[in-house]
């Protein structure tokens, strides 16, 4: 075919870029939806702040596990930033639905890679979200500026940024893998629910994970925090927030970033395998 002669350099990348742009256009058609969603996201934080205010009122201690009342507020606000990168609303459910209703077929017939497409769609989703969410976020952070420690040095900001990008990728590949369980199970919503629960608890979304440092596992010298550090969850909420607050530094910071990166790679591979085996199963049994 003469078509191939005219192929521009990096055709895969160009196709991916076009996908991203088209996904952006599509998301922008729904921006009204986002505004309400963004406003709602601040509600749980308000209840958390009230809860911790009550906790501190009931004690004479000035800090709990190294967190003062202002630290706690800063921590929760920072996990909101992290979650804005790592949370993937509708991703797993959407994949499972497209398996169930058959719209996944399109990606079997067309010369396009589904995972790449999902990634483009999710980046577009996030970019449009940030565009809308920047205003309420900026307002809240401005109002609450008194709770934060001074802005950290450039290296910490760099590590924080890297940890956010990795947390986006980690969240994406974990949820995409989860969604591909839809190839095996008709209904994945309860699996997603269980995942969300574990995620909420172990990511640091609920409370700062270093509070688990004093909780023993039963193994000599190993705390629950030590175990959680090796799991992927804390990298989707706690870790970037702790980096900004200066709680993780130096060699420990480097090691944690390496663990996070390793989890990204592991989940990306898991996602590929799930796609590959899932489509094979789909082709063999369903379709």
């Amino acid at each position: 075919m003469s078509r191939a002669d005219a192929t521009p350099p990096f055709p895969g990348l160009r196709a991916w870029w076009t996908m991203l742009v088209i996904c952006l256009e599509e998301r922008l058609a729904y921006r009204g939806d986002f505004i309400l969603g963004t406003a709602m996201r601040f509600l749980p934080i308000v209840t958390q702040v009230f809860l911790w205010t009550a906790v501190f009122a009931a004690t004479t201690r000035s800090d709990i596990a190294g967190y003062s009342r202002t630290d706690i507020v800063a921590y929760y606000l920072l996990t909101m930033v992290t979650r804005a990168f790592s949370s993937m609303p509708g991703l797993a459910g959407g994949i499972a639905r497209s398996v169930r209703d058959g719209s996944i077929k399109k990606y079997l017939v067309q010369p396009v890679d589904y995972v790449s497409f999902l990634l483009a769609a999710r980046i577009a989703h996030k970019l449009v979200y940030y565009l809308v969410a920047i205003i309420p976020f900026a307002a809240v952070f401005f109002v609450c500026r008194g709770y934060f420690p001074p802005v950290p040095d450039a290296a910490t900001i760099g590590a924080f940024t890297l940890s956010l990008v990795l947390s986006f990728l980690l969240g994406f590949f974990m949820e995409a893998t989860l969604g591909m369980l839809g190839f095996w199970f008709l209904e994945v919503s309860s699996i997603i629910f269980a995942y969300m629960l574990v995620q909420y608890l172990l990511s640091g979304h609920m409370f700062p994970l270093d509070m688990l440092a004093g909780v023993p596992t039963g193994l000599a010298g190993v705390s629950v925090a030590d175990v959680v550090r090796w799991l992927p969850f804390e990298y989707t909420a706690y870790f970037p927030a702790a980096v900004w607050l200066g709680k993780i530094r130096g060699a420990e910071l480097a090691r944690s970033l390496a663990i996070e990166a390793a989890w990204v790679v592991a989940m990306a591979v898991a996602c590929r395998i799930a796609w590959w085996r899932g489509t094979r199963r789909y082709s063999a049994f369903g379709g």
């Binding site: 075919m1 078509r3 191939a4 005219a6 192929t7 055709p11 160009r14 196709a15 870029w17 076009t18 996908m19 088209i22 256009e25 599509e26 058609a29 729904y30 058959g102 719209s103 077929k105 399109k106 079997l108 017939v109 067309q110 010369p111 396009v112 094979r280 789909y282 082709s283 063999a284 049994f285 369903g286 379709g287």
Partner: protein, 348 residues
């Protein structure tokens, strides 16, 4: 005569299928609470053979209709040929590729359009989906524009490409689906019920378009349908599938020759005739006012007709084949047509 396409088929087969079979495991959902609880531990299932060893070849530039009732295996067959599913047994090659290996080289050379599924982006104008196809199918920009303009003009949808797809009617959407599917100039096109739900005008427009584009590009098209009008308008070759097997593979005209034993003779008389008089002839006969319809053996028609006409005031007379719809409906119903009538290739 039904082998007229056979000469073209043998040397340049674009689609070659050998003993292709596909079985599904379906789970039965038993009634009642106790059974439901039991099914948590053991789900009763059975195997359904959707396709039972189909063999055929389609040559370049053929326009083939797959006919059959719902659940006959038509869609399963198209899904196999487009690589969505893998077979239980048998082999298939489309454009030299095993479809279910889903090589990009293969996927750039064919297209699948399903009447009930859309590939266009729902909330965006079709132009955006076209642009995405240009990239994923790697179509050279100048060629892309030429093809797009040609297709859009042929279907008369130029004004619609900038409207969000969700705002379009079903017929308009289908036309744009076809444009999207043909932008990369596929050599093989699979159409699954393309005219389902469309009104007569839209169906007609689609037929004209398909006939034109197929002739011009010498594209190989396989179309599934249960509207006979689709077939009569477009395809010379029809494959009738019932219950997972090929019942007939040949020309449409041959279906009539092969599967009907009689013709329909309609007489318009001056007055309402005496029923007994016609009944005496021994053919199935229906009398509606002055109009009489008889089903007469094809071999005997030349002898019988003069006899019927003799001594009657006949205003008009017509001798017609049994309508195609009726024959195919009969084929679907019975499934078991006298074996001698089934063409050799269909029994392979």
């Amino acid at each position: 005569m039904h082998n007229s396409s056979g000469e073209a088929r043998a040397p340049a087969a674009v689609i070659e299928v050998e003993a292709l079979a596909k079985s599904y495991r379906v789970f039965d959902k038993p009634e009642g609470l106790a059974a439901s609880v039991r099914s948590l531990f053991h789900r009763p299932s059975r195997v359904v053979e959707a396709l039972k060893g189909v063999s055929l070849a389609v040559g370049r530039g053929e326009f083939v209709a797959l006919l059959g009732p719902n659940g006959a295996g038509k869609t399963t067959f198209l899904k196999l040929l487009s690589g969505i599913i893998t077979p239980t047994r048998g082999t298939a090659r489309v454009l030299g590729h095993v479809p279910w290996e889903r090589a990009d080289d293969f996927r750039r050379r064919f297209a699948l359009v399903m009447g009930q599924k859309n590939q266009l982006w729902w909330d965006l104008p079709a132009a955006e989906s076209f642009r995405l196809h240009r990239e994923i199918y790697r179509i050279e920009p100048a060629r892309f524009e030429r093809t797009r303009d040609e297709l859009v003009d042929l279907l008369g949808v130029r004004k619609l490409v900038l409207q969000p797809v969700r705002d379009l009617s079903l017929g308009e959407r289908m036309k744009l689906e076809l444009v999207a599917a043909l932008l990369h100039e596929p050599e093989v096109l699979f159409l699954d019920e393309p005219t389902i739900g469309l009104d007569v005008v839209a169906q007609h427009a689609l037929h004209r378009f398909l006939a034109h584009i197929q002739a011009e590009r010498r594209m190989t098209i396989v179309l599934t349908t249960h509207y006979m009008k689709d077939v009569a308008a477009l395809c010379r070759r029809a494959i009738v599938i019932t219950d997972g097997s090929i019942l007939y593979d040949g020309s449409l005209d041959q279906i009539v020759d092969r599967f009907t034993t009689h013709k329909i003779v309609t007489l318009d008389l001056d007055d309402t005739p005496d029923a007994a008089e016609f009944a005496r002839l021994g053919f199935p006969c229906e009398i509606r006012g002055p109009q009489v319809t008889l089903r007469i053996d094809r071999q005997r028609i030349a002898d019988v007709l003069p006899e019927i006409l003799r001594g009657r005031q006949v205003r008009d007379v017509s001798v017609e084949d049994v309508p195609l719809e009726e024959i195919v409906a009969e084929l679907f119903r019975s499934g078991a047509v006298a074996p001698a009538r089934v063409p050799e290739e269909a029994r392979a």
